[in-house]
Symmetry: C2
Subunit: 362 residues, 2 copies
Amino acid sequence: MTPGPRTFAVIMAGGAGTRFWPLSRRRRPKQFLPIAGSKTMIEETVARLRPFLRNSRILTISDAAQAKTIRRLVPGLPERNVLVEPEGRNTAASLILATATVYLRDHGAVVFALPADHLIADDELFLNKLGAAARAASEGDVIVTFGIPPSYPATGFGYIQYADRGRRRVGGELFYPVLRFKEKPGLELAREFIAQGRHFWNSGMFIWRADVFARKLETHAPDFYPFWLRMLGALKRRDRSELAGVFREIPATSIDYALMEKADGVLMNQGNFGWSDVGSWVALADIWPKGEGGHAVRGEAVFVDSRDCLVYSLNKLTAVVGLKDIIVVDTPDALLVCHKKSDQKVRDIINLLKKRQKNEYL
Amino acid sequence: MTPGPRTFAVIMAGGAGTRFWPLSRRRRPKQFLPIAGSKTMIEETVARLRPFLRNSRILTISDAAQAKTIRRLVPGLPERNVLVEPEGRNTAASLILATATVYLRDHGAVVFALPADHLIADDELFLNKLGAAARAASEGDVIVTFGIPPSYPATGFGYIQYADRGRRRVGGELFYPVLRFKEKPGLELAREFIAQGRHFWNSGMFIWRADVFARKLETHAPDFYPFWLRMLGALKRRDRSELAGVFREIPATSIDYALMEKADGVLMNQGNFGWSDVGSWVALADIWPKGEGGHAVRGEAVFVDSRDCLVYSLNKLTAVVGLKDIIVVDTPDALLVCHKKSDQKVRDIINLLKKRQKNEYL
């Protein structure tokens, strides 16, 4: 189903992202890279929403440098929809600023809070569910989220525990009461979650009515509510320095921690639309189509006695000999060669480069 | 000791060499790369001889394109010393042409036939031995060669079986009668050679008097002697097309096979001057100085959880994560990532590229 006309999307594009180094850099994080498809992830995120929302209904939030990139990549957005954070302070601050902005345009409007760098395979199903979620959120005193059916006992995601009892159907979709948001678990606990069922991954996507968001803050996050009120004031007065002052006082934490873990009246819909947060080179290797030998290749590569490698090499020919499960990423000024089992350690490279003050590579 | 004034070096620079791809290419083989030191191997080979030989006494032999490179890298050589082969036909043809050229300048001159792409660690010892070898070769009806004390049962080198009995001392050096030249053995036979002692590696370096070379051909390589005579004739007449015709008729085989395996009167001196033919990336990794983690690096590289890698990366930063015994060679248009145990398979890349007609990378 389609959402009502009182709907806005807020695309969170402020992430820094070090896990795709050397392709991603401080000034060129994942959401601005054509990493999963032929367009950048933020372009794909906007394009996905276009059947539902005109440009005037799509907002982005990021820092000033990223906002410049957004204006270039998504030129149709009205200037006032490209929100700029005075500094990166995690999603609680971002979403208080963005939701307050929407609130002042239409108190009762529904907000889709969506990360700019997630991959969704089935756009049509996603939009259908988003429409139903908008309806559910507009009807009552609830916040809606998508839970992702877990495909393995991940320790890199938070989990949502939900109940069957009390579920309701809106717009053809089932919405389950959320019992608890749970932080990233250890492996043993993650296995328990999977064994129990009733635990889905936290996608970080939320749907709320602006006024309901405010009410939930007031009731369940009283530490944060004063920032909401002061943010509204600064926005009404169009006082940038006041706004920046308020923003910088908001604790730098996630909306999950600030609000969702504490709120009641949260509903979960099953996000079985082929979601991936594309959190690492290995996750990307799973998404790219595989050729002979199980290799995932962007650019030009040849292989001898090798299997299951990922090669990103747009500017030259890459030859791989006698290797299995290797990631090779060539960029004009930096090259990564990494075993798949070590892809989480790409961050250690960043730290090493920082320590050696090789800032030109960050 | 120093050699007499009647001495010439012939530097064999015609090799094509595919084992250092992507650094080495058809038009830029190993001898023209600064692969072992800061200068190209041919520059180092010439520099090594300079204490002994003026430029007028140093000849090179290669194809026309390589000759152009040689003139650039070793600008001091007289034009008539840069010999050009009509085509690459292995060392028998090269050395018949080169030795005939020397013969016409001085029948009794001693020729040092030396590959352009070998590494020698102790230049002083090498020169001493070369001087003694020149003396031994000038005194009698013998050809002198250096045998390399084997450091492992190599299957990639030919072997020289020598006798203690009949050895003689010339210029402070011992020269052993060669019993047999033996082709590259299988592993089992190579192990036998090592166990027996009396088998050294064939270095491919030879020292002979020009007239003795002719006599040895006449006696032991009667199939090749007519080419020698016809080559002399063409050179005397300065008839290039005649020379090319003769050259192209010479069977494309090595001097080892054409003459050395059949000749008697061959003496071997122990070439314990830190020789390496630098035949592969792994051989190079052995030669380059190692840093922390056992890595051999040219250019800029950082490592996380890695050991014993070789990185050649002059134009960018290379980061290696979670890998052991990996070779990474970055060039402007091609990149190699290879396990050390597979370095002999770099040739398969060349074959693959040929098959796919990617000639720009050859």
